[in-house]
């Protein structure tokens, strides 16, 4: 099942990249997407089943608008801190544990922390241990308030 799903995704990707519909191109697309899926069907979806994977993807799509908004805020914040003559930074390192355990949850949380205002993930591991570098006090406090964790938890389900 993972194999079929991966090869369908690979074939759609092939069509998007090639943009042509000759018989020969389509045939080689099918052959190569089956080949790639055979090598890597346990990588894309992992050990999860398809249903879990697709519901997570759908819930992730609902998470994206909030993330984009946070990225815009992060950049405004960074432009301010960079161009301010006094450079208002007060870096600190914070540690916290999260209840997330799945690979996708931890990855999404770690990347979201890096992209959102004033924080960069230093360490993120399988046990849900996070070490984060914050550029000032306020971003650190916002992160520890746990809004983002709750949102990612909802994606993980």
């Amino acid at each position: 099942m993972n194999f079929v799903f991966t090869s369908i995704i690979m074939f759609v990707f092939w069509i998007l990249l090639s943009g042509e519909f000759h018989f020969l191109l389509m045939l080689s697309g099918i052959v190569f997407s089956l080949f790639v899926a055979y090598i890597s069907h346990d990588l894309l979806i992992g050990s999860d089943n398809i249903r879990l994977f697709s519901t997570r993807m759908l819930r992730f799509c609902r998470y994206v608008p909030w993330l984009v908004w946070q990225i815009l805020l992060a950049n405004l914040d960074l432009v301010y801190r960079t161009l301010h003559p006094k450079m208002p930074i007060d870096p600190q390192v914070i540690r916290f544990d999260t209840a997330l355990r799945s690979d996708i949850g931890i990855t999404v949380l770690a990347n979201s922390i890096t992209l959102t205002p004033g924080t960069v993930t230093i360490v993120a591991n399988q046990d849900g241990e996070f070490i984060v570098h914050a550029i000032a006090r306020k971003p650190a406090k916002d992160l520890l308030a746990g809004e983002m964790q709750a949102k990612v938890k909802r994606v993980e389900g």
Partner: protein, 104 residues
Amino acid sequence: MVVTTIISYLFLAVGCFLIVVASIGIIRFPDVYSRIHPAGKSDTLGQAMIFIGLMIYEGLSFVSIKLLIIVIFIFITNPTATHALVNAAHAAGLKPWEKGDDRN
């Protein structure tokens, strides 16, 4: 046609501005950990803005779909690369700069 061109120019300008700011930040900030902030964030959005500008300029076609795919990959890979760099600094035992230390 003119309107989409202007909007795409706007996106390109904002993207270039963000990348310039990221470069300034990399020079101005005091240590690796704080320098990684502009490198990880502004670069990601700056590149994405430039590609979105090109997408709007191009209109709906296979080219703009490819650009969209590039944007998605940048949003996945750029924070990951940032994390790898900063994790390497942490593993090497580098101490973060704190307020009141010398700037060098």
